[in-house]
């Protein structure tokens, strides 16, 4: 997937190589360099996952760029034309969003940072600040289909507001910089910015006011509450300001959890299989029995993966315990019990216990990893639970593995 994408992007780059004329200078908004939505910055911190080369210079009219089709002409402003966002999603938006949600392809899905318009905004229209994550911009523009507003997208490397605020890219400095770069003070006559509430862990409202004169108004958490908020900004019902974690929200996280767990799981399983194969070949058991026991190990791990990365997110509020590792262990035990009855009823007690332990440890570890995707786990809490959970998981998985390898050996 990533390679496909790279290929597509390098195709685009080809068209922009020196010698072949860059068409961008001829675009109308080139006349106002300050307001031109900026190309997403190449990522600097190498650890955060995007293969280099994904952020090739986009051209706003390019049909290949993931956002070209979101634009609908320009809106005039005192500093020149501003690209206008369509408030309707097309099949391409849905497809792109689906791919991102399924964890396929790129994990960063960026629009160029800068100023955009929805509807026909003027000097008194509200300014909504957001991240340059395309799904966030999509949510915003569709909610604003009957509004005239300016949208200022900060460069968060194509990450959503909440995560970017935590990472320090949706931040005071970036907001101040982007305000100046887009010359917003000339575009609007008022001095107010509406920011999503979840950006507050990255942006200090009073500092923005000190540095730019613009007052930060904390808008609702969810884009869908924006129309109601814009109608009456003084009165936000408490529900607008509270984080939610609905069944639907949890289900959408499952594919991401699976794709995150897949590689390490496949890797450790591969290692274990190799060890088992060597042991089994050296041992007295017939090859068929060895294979059978090996397969049981795979089943136990996959059951643990399903329990920890699929069932735990979905059933989260109903699983007993507060620590995620504990929740995962509970569910792993239940899942192992069911699969013992269904898949391996003819096992010896020792092997059953070993397989159960492998399932529990896998499930517990993956459930604990789910803390990263929830909107309510504190770092102090995660660290507290990990201090006992990691050694416990390591112990359980080691005993389980030894028991299973022993079974492979003995047949």
């Amino acid at each position: 997937m990533k390679n496909d994408h790279k290929a597509a992007m390098s195709g685009e780059r080809l068209r922009l190589t020196p010698g072949i004329k860059d068409t961008r200078p001829h675009l109308p908004y080139r006349a106002v360099p300050g307001i031109l939505p900026e190309v997403p910055r190449e990522k600097t911190d190498a650890c955060c996952g995007t293969p280099s080369g994904l952020m090739t210079p986009p051209s706003l009219t390019s049909g290949d760029a993931p956002y070209g089709h979101c634009l609908q002409g320009h809106v005039p402003s005192p500093v020149g034309p501003v690209p206008r966002l369509s408030t309707r999603l097309t099949a391409r938006d849905y497809w792109g969003g689906l791919k991102v949600r399924l964890g396929l392809g790129r994990d960063r899905y960026a629009m160029p940072a800068g100023l955009y318009a929805v509807g026909r905004p003027g000097p008194r229209s509200p300014v909504l600040v957001t991240a340059n994550y395309k799904l966030t911009v999509d949510a915003l523009r569709t909610e604003l289909s009957t509004h005239d507003a300016w949208i200022l997208a900060l460069d968060t490397n194509g990450i959503n507001v909440w995560c970017a605020a935590g990472k320090g890219t949706f931040a005071t400095d970036e907001l101040v910089h982007r305000l100046k770069a887009s010359r917003l003070d000339q575009v609007v006559t008022h001095r107010k910015l509406v920011l999503p509430q979840l950006g507050a862990s990255g942006v200090a409202g009073h500092r923005v006011k000190q540095r730019t004169g613009f007052q930060v108004i904390w808008g609702p958490i969810r884009a869908r509450d924006l129309p109601a908020f814009l109608k009456n900004p003084q009165k936000t019902p408490p529900s607008m300001r509270r984080m939610s974690f609905t069944l639907k929200e949890r289900i959408t996280l499952v594919p991401v959890e699976i794709s995150a767990a897949f590689r390490p799981a496949a890797w450790s399983l591969g290692m274990a299989m190799l060890m088992a194969l060597l042991l089994g070949m050296a041992g007295p058991a017939p090859f068929k029995t060895v294979l059978h026991t090996m397969l049981l190990g795979v089943t136990a791990t996959v059951v643990g993966l399903l329990s920890g990365a699929v069932l735990t997110p979905i059933l989260l509020p109903w699983i007993p315990g507060r620590a995620f590792a504990l929740k995962g262990a509970f569910l792993g035990l239940a899942a192992a019990f069911i699969s013992l009855l269904a898949v391996y009823p003819d096992m010896t007690v020792e092997t059953s216990i070993a397989l159960t332990m492998m399932t529990i440890a896998t499930s517990s570890f993956l459930a604990m990893n789910f803390t990263g995707a929830t909107p309510f786990t504190s770092p102090s809490g995660v660290e507290r639970e990990m201090r006992w959970a990691i050694p416990a998981q390591a112990l359980v998985v080691t005993i389980g593995l030894i028991g299973w390898l022993q079974a492979v050996w003995a047949g």
Partner: protein, 96 residues
């Protein structure tokens, strides 16, 4: 999911009421309604609901609130243990 209380007694959140000027900003930015107003100044309601996001402390103009902010992500914490604070990041895990 209504009850979003995680582990009890771990949050690093503190409030120095004597510095608070009652501007209410913290009550607007907290995504878990931990902070409330009483007698013209902020008070900590259910401290165990705090996820240490740091929004209140960052936005308190009086520096009355303090918290050690961070991301509650096991993959991240693991990395801080093994690679140190600087090298750690959420990477490709489900965090972000």
């Amino acid at each position: 999911m209504r009850n979003m209380t995680y582990l009890p007694g771990v949050s690093t959140l503190t409030l120095d009421t004597s510095r608070c000027n009652g501007c209410r900003t913290c009550t607007l930015v907290c995504p878990h309604a931990v902070l409330k107003m009483a007698n013209g100044h902020a008070v900590i309601g259910n401290r165990d609901d705090c996820m240490e996001c740091g929004a209140c402390a960052l936005n308190c103009p009086q520096e009355a609130l303090r918290v050690t902010p961070g991301v509650g992500c096991a993959a991240y914490v693991l990395q801080t243990w093994f690679k140190g604070k600087e090298a750690a990041c959420c990477g490709e895990s489900g965090c972000c």
